[in-house]
Symmetry: C2
Subunit: 348 residues, 2 copies
């Protein structure tokens, strides 16, 4: 009995060592492809992040008066209460027009190498200027934004505090910079970060199996880096084009930016953090089920069938990318004055 | 010199005493007409306020999925960032329709004796059911609201916690009760409350002069109580009807509720707390300047011309009604599931 007991102990210990070694190996492999979120805000190009700038940016982000109609703020389509997006196929904007593409999440967007589905904005400051002016979104003009801000003494004071060295702090450029600074704080550490950082208990067995599949099947060829995507461009339908509902023929993606035939139906690989909070999926927003989206990716991008069990495990892994949204105190905004341009909901 | 000095001291002392007496008299008179906000939430009829109910109500208040389109939450038209209203003439709602009347502030609304411009809802729970179903506002149905809530396990758990004794906690009635409980916390103590409570320094000289005018001119005949209004019905244009832009002939106010000829163009006296944050004014929302609104009230309701200086002082007093909005931590809402009804922006 004594011998048998020793033998059993030895087997158990060996198995445990093997498991530890396997976990260490999986983590090492994963760290070669993915990075955990940093513990501090990233530095921005030409835009020093200060507390004053963050607070101003938060006010602007939540202010519906930045739209011509007074209905939409940045937060309308990038709602911090619902995963940083709006849970619609494509957003509803000015005069009830429908936007052309699904609204991407603002959470962790600062870590994307470029913004928008086609990467046409280099950074969040450039991005912030887009929807404000888009006729189907906020339908405003830079001049009207500046006039609106200048009409409210509290905003002028906040701009002076956020841009203390500048002669004319209230500008459309600084509006965008303040929003960029605020958005850089919207970082959501997730169980996957804890696991990458060494916490073996942060992921379940199914999530670990999903991670292995995610790497072995080739998902991580496009969805890698700190945001598991957002850092490269790939044709949607690399192996097999999905149906016209999912990939509408009239939206050729990055082709509109580069005018290069090679970029036809090329899109930025979606960043996958908080993906289970941001249905529906793809630029068309036509797929509501994450599992279905995973399986479509298998056939269209990898030329492989992802079976039900595998898809469930990959989805389990993807839920480990859902992080903690930073606590946001809802702002109290400056009051209008007689100089404030009136809201206009008219179709322009 | 000694005598003169004594005399002067006596005069100064007498003047000071007279001022103190005048201040005490003014406060006593004011307390006969107005009440300071209480330091605790008011009790609600058939709706015990608990922390769980408040938190649930806050989530519902901010959740755009309570509207058919997924665009509008309670907070869209009663925005806590902008005085508890939306700063529009009349709100823009479902399918870009315009609402018939200016959106009133939700702040301190719990102290109104009835809700809406025509008082057609007895309390905030009844009120909360209105806009959700109104075709021009959120265009939803009670059945769809309940289906939406039931589809999200986190909401079901929150309802169970907020209504622990009930067999079917997820109901349209409880949806409204939770919102009512949350709204009962939206109370904004203002300098005028501090002054009513005995702080002589809380109001400026102009504000005190404005308060006296407000009482002497007769404004307080309708605008009295804790909310300086919200507790009685009066014909708009009692003495002289304002122009058709301000008082559109096709909106006969409380007549639609009571079908009594006497109630033609009768409206609930506007509660005046935070009034300088909630332009534009009147049920038509046609007047953007508070001073102009004060002067219109003089001619239409009191038959008296309120001159520029008087109007400025009354406006100064009204700004002393602007209070501190309670700190609101923006909620993180439950995620949808495959059972969640899809948003629909179609015109019904």
């Amino acid at each position: 009995m004594n011998h048998l007991f020793k033998l059993l102990c030895g087997v158990v210990a060996a198995l445990a060592l093997t498991q530890v070694a396997a976990a260490a190996e999986l983590r090492e492999r994963a760290l070669g492809m993915f990075s955990p979120l940093p513990s501090t805000f990233p530095a921005l190009k030409d835009n020093v992040i200060t507390g004053e700038k963050i607070e101003l940016g938060k006010a602007l982000f939540f202010d519906p008066r930045m739209s011509a109609s007074g209905v939409f703020s940045c937060n309308s389509c990038h709602n911090l209460a619902t995963g940083g997006d709006d849970n619609m196929e494509t957003s509803i904007g000015h005069a009830w027009q429908k936007g052309p593409r699904n609204s991407p999440t603002v959470l962790n967007a600062v870590f994307n190498e470029a913004q928008f589905w086609d990467g046409r904005a280099a950074d969040l400051a450039e991005q912030a200027k887009g929807p404000v002016q888009a006729g189907v979104e906020m339908a405003n003009t830079p001049a009207n934004v500046v006039a609106t801000l200048t009409s409210m003494p509290q905003y002028v004071a906040w701009f002076e505090e956020a841009f203390p060295e500048e002669k004319n702090p209230v500008s459309f450029d600084n509006f965008a910079k303040a929003i960029e600074a605020y958005e850089a704080t919207l970082i959501t550490p997730a169980p996957f970060d804890a696991w990458l950082n060494g916490d073996d208990g942060a992921l379940t067995g199914d999530q670990l199996a999903g991670l292995e599949l995610f790497m072995n099947k080739g998902c991580s060829a496009c969805h890698n880096g700190v945001n598991l995507g957002g850092n490269g461009y790939f044709p949607f339908g690399l192996i097999e084009k999905p149906g016209a509902d999912v990939l509408p023929p009239d939206d050729r993606g990055r082709f509109a930016v580069t005018k290069t035939a090679d970029d036809s139906y090329v899109f930025r690989a979606s960043p996958l953090r908080n993906i289970d909070q941001t249905a529906p999926y793809f630029h068309s927003g036509k797929v509501w089920d994450l599992k279905v989206a995973v399986q479509i990716m298998g056939t269209s991008q990898l030329g492989t069938e992802i079976n039900d069990q595998q898809a469930d495990q990959i989805v389990a892994f993807l839920t480990a990318l859902t992080g903690k949204v930073p606590e946001v105190v809802y702002p109290v905004l400056p009051r209008e004055t007689s100089q404030t341009p009136r809201p206009s909901g008219e179709l322009q």
